[in-house]
Amino acid sequence: MSPSLAVDLAGLRLANPLVLASGIWGCAAETLVRAARAGAGAVTSKSCSVAPRTGHPNPTVLPWAGGLINAVGLANPGAAEERLILQEAHKSLIPLGVSLIASIFGSTPDDYAEAAELVAGAQPEILEVNISCPNVASEFGLPFALEPDAAAAVTRAVRAAYAGRVFIKLSPNAVNIVEVAAAAAEAGADGFTAVNTLGPGMLIDITARRPILSNRVGGVSGAALRPIALRCIHDVTRAIGLPVIGTGGVDSGEAAIQMIMAGASAVGVGSALLGEGDAVFSRLQREMLTIMQHEGIASLEEIRGCAHAG
């Protein structure tokens, strides 16, 4: 019997564990649906806030030797407009059997709750609460994800405003990510996306003698992030019995299997769309199946969290 890539994510059945990560392609219904058709098991929209935002000026996204660095600055059309985008996407995603994850952010717990209420009408399967963007500190201060009480406050506010599944997006920068996750779990989270980009980091152009990003700093993603993401997912899932979408530098079937072994229920894919586009989803599925056949793994559930042992 051939192995199965199907997974359960907080009671949702995904045909495969690959999830289009937030901030990648997710500005429009059409591109979310395209990623779904290309083989994503779920797709995540770009984070939206109550008020529209133009984001930072360019340069905002740059490829470098270890992956990407970005400081888009949470550009979005506002949650009311985003709801229309999500509704349009959802209509096409339902017949494909692909789940929709709506990402929100805010500047205060109440702000998050309002954004949650605004996108609720689109009935996403999961609401992802982005409390961990590292490139807006000059405007919003340090992310809520760095501190357990702050993470819990946002989670409580969203939980009170939104009846569906709430996933909290964790930061690899937290001093103790397990304490943050535990506080969010206690406050009513149904799961986590782990992790957001790392940093912020900086790139310097030696001829210009200055940072390249207009925001000077930005979140680091791609290959450089993967070992850190694996550790975060491992620690969170070992301590807390909630599902995790493991995200950070996954660019191969092997890396996706590593995420599952670390304890992830599903696997986010973002920076890997660079160069390859949405073909990455079918390639990663093929590579995962090859590994499963070679290693005698019938289902991903069989290996989920196996790295916790020992």
Partner: protein, 245 residues
Amino acid sequence: MLDNIYQVMRVTERIPEGKCGATLVLDGELPCQAGQFVMVWLPGVEERPFTLVNDTPVTLTVAAIGPLTRALAGLEVGARVWLRGPYGHGFPPPGRRLLVLGGGSGIASLALLARRALAEGAEVRTYIGARTTDLLMLPWYPHWSTLTLTTDDGSQGIHGNVLQAAAEQFAWADGIYACGPEPMLAALARSRRSDWPPCWINLERVMRCGIGVCGSCHCGSHLVCADGPVFNLEQVTAELLAPPH
């Protein structure tokens, strides 16, 4: 492992375009397909996509509209420019009879195509349009076989737009190549007839990454940076004709 994100080049020649634009010839090379683009950065100003008017040496044409284009258009010989790319997909190899339609600065993305086609012995009939004389770009470019200018206000050339002026040429051409403001491309899509030769258009969008990641340049389900910027007109007709959100 070097990051090598940008190549730095210096301006070797500045050719004024109309009242406030410019064509900048740089001292470097970036071999590309005609229609591909580069992300151009001026530190402290901004970064935006620009088509390559030539790749050897790199040549850019800018219409001074925003902070970056105004800064670029004002650069003196010797000034430095930072570029990454080339990115995207350019035009397929052209045939022997090219009809080239450029609106405003859009003509810049058709210049390298024309230059190479002319060098191969093809005929290139070019129509360049703008709202008024001051905004006509690349009329001096030596690689058009024949050139017709149009202005919306009649201040130079034919009074009207390039689609009206070129109407008789659609049956002559074996390929139509267009770039310009979206209403011009939408009008092209609306008037498209089944007996026309293939139509290729170069779409312009605000881009952040330029490399198919962020999604901000999408046109329907297409990413202009990675799937384009050159599209067959049929690929994007629905999007061009869709009412704005």
